[in-house]
Symmetry: C3
Subunit: 240 residues, 3 copies
């Protein structure tokens, strides 16, 4: 939650973290986008997640799902599949998570880290997008985004970002912020968020001496990003 | 919790974070001050908060309330109002939170970020202080502290501190630590804590390249603060 | 959890954090080591901790216990004593925690910070190791490791590490990672992990300006550690 909140603040968004079902009816109508992350899932948080997702869908607000470690247990997989039924605008995971969701099957898994390359998940992502109606994004060496027909790849980022906990969670949050600003172009917003986060990583990497300083420089760079850096560095290509 | 704990450790305090009602009767008698923060409020944490506040009051120990996003939902506002009934020594919030508490009314809100300037909340702060018997502090461009009669402003700090999650929570923790040391002068302790945290921000800002490096430098500066820096930088004035 | 996860990732491990009892049966069989930390203990997490520990023991997987603030309350002490019954491979605490566990007695305590030196806890550690069958480690100016007969001291580290929250929790996580790699030499793995973490602290300290930059440099250094640094800096001695 710490890195997610700081990522959003640095990008100019105004995040609030709520878990309690009692607050969902009052608070959800005020958000511009909802972000549901199942990272440290517990049985009593799931009803809040579902209530918020349902309400967001009813109100026509975009909502984004991060199915962290979807294949790690039957409980977690079922929770994610139930959330997918509630019509997320975007689903962003690593290759193993998207494959687990697409096949609705548990493990083999390494936990929260992917044991697949993102390109291996392209077909799974396309199927999941078609079945769910969501934009599906797969993080990896190349980040993939698909709506079931179009597929683009965002080629920014550096490998050391995987050595920082919650970078996946944070880029999903950034996707939610971008989609909040431009809900009618969720596909483009998703690809842009992945690219922008990767660019912040690239710029941070030039100053970093390891994962912890990369984490710091990334957020600083995200905050300081200007159009010139974006124009010269953005690397998004059509993959099909 | 991470930034709060590190802020307290850097300032020389010895924090412990507990949530469970089972531990309150054993542990609360050992604390020098209690800090209750409703940030990620859940229904099952509220009884612990109230039990701890009640016990602290009974034992004559100072306790400090941070009514995070008080106006964001009816559930949260009621929780905060119930806590205010338990006689906090100090209440510290942003302008929107103090206005919500003072008027006992929900929203409009941006979530955890204030949609009001601190000076707009001066009258609300004074009323809340009178009604509750607490010192009330409002963070903002100028930090305001009032006991219902006196009002002082602490003018330290830099705007980028608002781009770091939990800086508000952390300064409230610092207030609790200062009040623990000098419980008979809670008004002065509160103003000093706000000023000291702002000074750490100012000193950190001279080295920072963005919000994440500011966060790091702030804590380092708080740890290294000496009397000379405090004497030359403290900027507290009477506002009425 | 943030520092723990980043410490593990920097050291090359692949951590996953789970709390929910529903996930234990599916997930625990996939881990190479289990780490149970009672830091922010709540009544509904305890059954998950016990179920995971029991399953790890049954499956012959190493598991490591961090009895955070064991003496702070009767509830916490009982929870820790119940966990000790489930045959942890290693128990790592500060002196006050190990003394509380060994005597099965509550406080006096300062909360999560130790009010004893590690050397004061040597006899308590030895007793606890004999009674429990676990390797027992006590962090402090000198880190002590004992299996009840042998006692070694790891002399690496710097005092400022105590001004960073969760460094104790993080070194216990590193012990779990080391024991996962070499479960047949848990005694040596524990001493090595304590020394390696201390070396990262020493190397980080040469660049640090305070606790927050030390935290960053420590993780960077842990990630960048090479055999030369380890060979020249490791300082482990027999204490009896």
């Amino acid at each position: 939650m710490d890195l997610v909140a700081n990522t959003l603040l640095s990008a100019g968004a105004s995040p609030a973290m709520l878990h309690t079902i009692e607050e969902i009816p009052d608070f959800t109508p005020h958000v511009r986008a909802l972000y549901v992350n199942v990272g440290t899932l517990s049985a009593n948080w799931l009803p809040s997640m579902k209530a918020a997702a349902q309400l967001a869908s009813q109100l026509g607000k975009p909502w984004v799902l991060d199915p962290v470690a979807a294949g790690a247990s039957g409980f977690r997989l079922n929770a994610c599949l139930e959330l997918v039924q509630l019509k997320p605008t975007v689903i962003r995971g690593n290759a193993s998570e998207i494959i687990a969701l697409s096949r609705a099957s548990v493990g083999p898994t390494k936990g929260v880290d992917s044991s697949h390359e993102s390109m291996d998940a392209m077909e799974a992502a396309r199927c999941l997008a078609e079945a769910s109606g969501a934009i599906v994004a797969v993080s990896g060496a190349v980040d993939i985004v698909t709506d079931g027909r179009r597929v683009v790849g965002a080629h920014n980022g550096v490998p050391m970002m995987q050595k920082i906990t919650a970078t996946g969670c944070s880029v999903t949050a950034l996707i939610a912020a971008f989609v909040a600003v431009d809900p009618l172009h969720a596909f483009e917003a998703t690809a842009s968020a992945l690219s922008v986060y990767g660019i912040a990583g690239e710029m941070g990497m030039s100053m970093a001496k390891g994962p912890a300083s990369l984490r710091m420089h990334m957020i600083d760079c995200l905050h300081g990003l200007d159009q010139a850096a974006l124009l010269s560095r953005t690397n998004i290509t059509a993959l099909s």
